[in-house]
């Protein structure tokens, strides 16, 4: 009987309907965990650099500001560095002709920073490989000549 095919969907709709109504009035919160950096800028006297101009430089492009902002009245500034850019993040704060720069290492153990180059061992190994490449090529041709000489 065809009506039997309608029983299960109907029951399912009745069971879910109250819940669906509740969802329409609910709230939804998602979260991600990120590492924020808070700096506090102050003059040598201890007075906060309220309104100090902040410039943040990321390690992959240290010549170009990654973020610019302003300290709050307590000289405080918070930013979340891009976790895909491990290395030293540089933060500069300036105000009224005075300023300072702080260097913050972030996740440096996860990746090598640019400009680090190769280790001595790596250089020696690469050199040996290149030399062996040439020597091998020479031996190959040498072997061919010997074979031709014997044939």
């Amino acid at each position: 009987m065809k009506w039997k095919w309608l029983v299960f969907p109907a029951l399912l709709t009745l069971l879910l309907f109250p819940a669906m109504t509740a969802w329409a009035h609910g709230a939804h919160i998602e979260y991600t965990i990120s590492m924020a950096v808070e700096i506090v800028a102050a003059y040598d006297t201890g007075a906060p650099m309220a309104g100090g101009q902040v410039t943040v430089y990321a390690p992959d492009d240290p010549a170009t500001p990654w973020l610019e902002g302003v300290c709050d009245e307590d000289g405080r500034f918070v930013f979340t560095p891009d976790p895909t850019k491990p290395g030293t993040w540089d933060v500069q704060v300036r105000q009224a002709g005075h300023g300072d720069m702080v260097h913050i290492p972030i996740g440096e153990d996860m990746a090598m920073t640019g400009g680090g180059g190769y280790s001595t061992f790596q250089i020696v190994l690469m050199g040996a490989c290149v030399i062996w490449g040439f020597v091998g090529t020479a031996l190959f041709f040498l072997r061919n000549r010997r074979e031709y000489a014997h044939s």
Partner: protein, 262 residues
């Protein structure tokens, strides 16, 4: 020698030459500038109301060295700079920070053409006595309420400044291969005379002698003194204030330096 072995030797030598080329150092040109800022180029009003203009500000610099410091040098902590790479500008250089017009660029002290590429994030130098016996000579005119004083102030002591990275509108010292980068030795003369545009209770003005003490020992509209004269003529408090503030002249842009007096 058989021909195949000669070929083997030639190829090996070729490989070594290629490797030597790959391992060649990457260098560029590093410029060292000195900057007295707009205070020197354009003049300014001291904390006590004297309008000061400068004809010459001769400063003598030596042992100028740039560093790729690691860890980054902290001038607040002081001490030696730890660096894998450093570049020295040889010689003793006397420059006039007042040279050029009001909008003149910083004064080029010298350049090193074969500096290793990288980020130079620290610099040190000495202010040393020139052949005339002075490390700093300030020549200018001060005016206030119709009174004019032509002054020459000569400073004898040597100072060493050790600084971290330049702090300012742009980052300096980023030297690319075959490129040019500059570093700046900045001198803040408002530290001596104070600045009318800064609140009187600001640390800058509280620590600055101003011009009034100098005006007080001028004679006939002229002041021509060195530190020995000033010690004899200024009040003990004013002289000590001057002695205390002179080591703070050297900066890197707006960044402070660690200093020592010799």
């Amino acid at each position: 020698m058989r021909k195949p072995y000669r070929m083997l030797i030639v190829l090996t030598l070729l490989a070594l030459i290629i490797l030597a080329g790959c391992g060649g150092s990457e260098t560029g040109t590093l410029q060292f500038n000195a900057n007295g800022e707009d205070f020197v180029r354009q003049g300014f009003v001291s904390k006590d109301g004297w309008a000061i203009t400068f004809d010459h500000v001769y400063i003598t610099l030596a042992d100028i060295t740039a560093y790729q410091s690691d860890p980054p040098y902290d001038p607040h902590a002081g001490g030696e700079v730890e660096a894998k790479t450093q570049v020295a500008l040889d010689g003793v250089h006397t420059v006039d920070l007042a040279e050029g017009g009001e909008d003149a660029p910083p004064i080029l002290v010298g350049k090193v053409a074969d500096a290793a590429a990288g980020q130079y994030n620290a610099v040190s130098w000495r202010m040393v006595n020139a052949s005339d016996g002075y490390s700093l000579v300030i020549v200018g005119t001060a005016e206030k309420d119709g009174q004019t004083i032509d002054f020459t102030i000569q400073v004898e002591p040597d100072y060493t400044y050790t600084c971290g990275e330049y702090v300012g509108d742009e980052r300096k010292g980023m030297l690319q291969k075959d490129g040019t980068a500059d570093l700046e030795m900045t001198f803040h003369f408002d530290h001596i005379f104070g600045d009318a545009e800064t609140p009187p209770d600001d640390d800058l003005n509280v620590g600055a002698p101003g011009f009034e003490p100098f005006a007080g020992v001028a004679q006939g509209g002229t002041l021509d003194v060195d530190m020995a004269d000033l010690q004899a003529q200024l009040s003990a408090a004013d002289y000590q204030m001057l002695v205390d503030i002179l080591p703070t002249l050297g900066h890197v842009g707006e960044g402070h330096c660690h200093s020592e007096t010799h």
